[in-house]
């Protein structure tokens, strides 16, 4: 198995001010031995030939097809800025797929995406077409990236924005709450997947706590190695610190120890 390889940039397109879509293909020699990713897994990517930035950055697999890998990303700092300057034909250094993805759903499921969290959930929607109740929230309409595609793959979808520029004005967890209270899916048996900012995950905990619903969340931590070697990316769980890159990034929400609304 070869999880460390160089890939060629096929496309690096601007979706809007904030979001970009990078598509790469592993160099021939590496392709055969390369394992396929499952939804929720991630890759460590690094552009350029510099020690500043030094470390690779983790990105969820957004789309995978026949050796082509796509990543949906948002420019935040130096690393993603450098990523955004990649052009067709450039070479990029990759480690992956890494971590444990989402456990496979058996029937219908609920997907809760906050902002760029859609990147991690998208392959789940597209793999299990028409089985997802999608709850997708963002700051505003512009930040609801890939919303049309995500809706197409979903059985039903519910949208919220902070400023009300699209869908419900408020949070997706508001929408989820009323859905669960009134829906045909029984509250108890529901299966939830979520990826988004901490406050959203915290709200989810309130919703599912005491219920039988399983809720799998994908976490973010600063990573150095991505493969479990540095113990840098841990999260506190009921059974001690666990590595987000190795035991995660997907955890059942009740495994996580929360402290004042943040994971500790």
């Amino acid at each position: 198995m070869n999880r460390y390889f160089k890939a060629i940039v096929l496309e690096n397109s601007v979706l809007n001010n904030h979001f970009r879509l990078l598509t790469i293909e592993a160099e021939r020699i590496a392709i055969d031995a390369r394992p396929n990713p499952v939804p929720g897994q991630f890759y460590m990517l690094q552009a350029g030939n510099t020690y500043d930035p030094l470390l690779k950055r983790p990105f969820s697999i957004f789309r995978y097809e026949d050796g082509l890998m796509s990543f949906l990303y948002r420019v935040r700092g130096k690393g993603t800025l450098l990523l955004s300057s990649l052009k067709k034909g450039d070479i990029i250094d990759v480690i992956g797929p890494l971590g444990n993805g989402y456990p496979e759903p058996e029937g219908d499921f609920i997907a809760v995406a906050g902002g760029i969290g859609i990147a991690s959930l998208f392959p789940l929607l597209s793999k299990f077409k028409n089985r997802a109740y999608l709850f997708y929230g963002a700051r505003n309409k512009q930040e609801l990236v890939m919303i049309d595609e995500a809706k197409t793959f979903s059985k039903e979808s519910f949208v919220a924005t902070d400023d009300g520029s699209e869908g419900h004005r408020g949070t997706v967890t508001d929408l989820l709450k009323s859905f669960l209270n009134s829906s045909l899916i029984t509250h108890h048996s529901s299966l939830i997947y979520a990826c988004g900012p901490s406050p959203m995950l915290k709200e989810l905990l309130h919703i599912v706590v005491g219920e039988k619903a399983k809720c799998y969340i994908s976490l973010e931590e600063h990573m150095a190695c991505g493969v479990g070697a540095c113990i840098g990316c841990v999260v506190k769980t009921v059974s001690g610190y666990k590595r987000v890159c190795k035991e995660g990034p997907v955890f059942e929400i009740r495994e996580i120890v929360w402290n004042n609304g943040v994971m500790k």
Binding site: M1, R3, Y4, Q46, Y51, D52, P53, L54, L55, K56, D93, I95, E221, H222, M223, A224, C225, G226, V227, G228, A229, C230, I231, G232, C233, V234, V235, K236, G240, Y241, K246, M263, K264
Partner: protein, 311 residues
């Protein structure tokens, strides 16, 4: 590869009686317990495997964030999280015994007693070929003075550990000192078979919006290419001061960096942060050393070690 490999090039080195088939090892704490990277490279190819620092009792480590990137470097404050000596021996060592590569156990303690206990238990295990003492830890008894920056406590702890083990003993020096060659001489006098340097340098990054340190532990250890020039200088100073072999490390990313350390006087090198960026860095460096020797028409790596000209 290895001794007497292609083109009759010898890259075997001897560290405190340990024969290494090449001078490239992993740096403690950056290679887990060997398993994590076993999928990326053949562990048999390494000169030695140095595992994550162990203590007699398991440690939880620090809260998060534990890592922050800095220009050409990173700070870590893992807080020496580890599974403890016993669990290591029971659960991790059997895997490592499958390989022919020597295993060096890095260990530490909060007191001389803890150091001695850890050294004893590790020495009695099957499949550990050397010990590396991490002395960059505060001494609980002596009011949290760091063992590795205070000559007196350092002499005590190394002397005590020396009595507790007959395995090759490497003392890993802290760079947070005024004169590292003095610390190396103390290690040598106290019975160390080798010294390794450098451990990380203490640093801090502040989140200016929150006006808080980014790391939960406030400070962390700086590693990576940023510190390399300091590490090379220290290896050179220590080389002039002691007779025991030196294992050099600090920001080695490629063959050329490794050669700087060897030329400065290191008999072996350890690769740390580079593993994170390039999981096959160690292997590329081993191959690169042989290539360099062919290009420079050298047949023995010992011709390189300490060959710095300064006239």
């Amino acid at each position: 590869m290895g001794s007497g490999g292609i083109n009759n090039i010898n890259i075997e080195v001897d560290i405190a009686g340990l024969k290494l088939k090449n001078p490239v090892m992993t740096a403690s704490g950056t290679f887990g317990y060997g398993e994590e990277y076993s999928e990326f490279l053949d562990l048999n190819m390494l000169g030695a495997i140095v595992v994550k620092g162990l203590s007699i009792t398991p440690r939880q480590g620090n809260p998060t964030p534990r890592i922050v990137e800095t220009p050409a470097g990173m700070l870590n404050a893992i807080g020496l999280q580890n599974i403890g000596v016993r669990t290591f021996i029971e659960e991790k060592l059997p895997f490592l015994r499958h390989f022919k590569t020597p295993v060096i156990a890095n260990f530490f303690g909060d007191s001389i007693d803890e150091y001695v206990q850890a050294a004893q238990e590790l020495s009695s295990a099957d499949g550990i070929h050397g010990l590396e003492m991490n002395i960059s830890c505060p001494n609980k008894q002596a009011g949290w003075i760091v063992f590795g920056t205070d000559p007196v406590t350092m002499r005590q702890v190394v002397t005590a550990v020396r009595k507790a083990t007959s395995l090759p003993l490497i003392v890993k020096l802290s760079p947070n000192v005024a004169d590292i060659s003095l610390m190396a001489r103390i290690a040598e006098d106290s019975g160390a078979d080798a010294v390794s340097l450098i451990n990380t340098m203490t640093g801090m990054v502040i989140d200016i919006k929150k006006r808080r340190p980014v790391l939960a532990n406030k400070t962390g250890g700086l590693s990576g290419p940023a510190i390399r020039p300091i590490a090379v200088r220290m290896v050179w100073e220590v080389y002039k001061a002691v007779k025991i072999p030196i294992i050099g490390m600090g920001g080695i990313m490629n063959t050329s960096d490794a050669l700087e350390f060897l030329i400065a006087g290191a008999r072996a090198v350890a690769i740390g942060t580079a593993n994170f960026i390039n999981p096959t860095a160690t292997i590329e460096i081993i191959e690169g050393l042989e290539k360099f020797m062919i290009e420079e028409r050298l047949s023995d790596i010992n011709e390189i070690i300490g060959s710095l000209k300064t006239d």
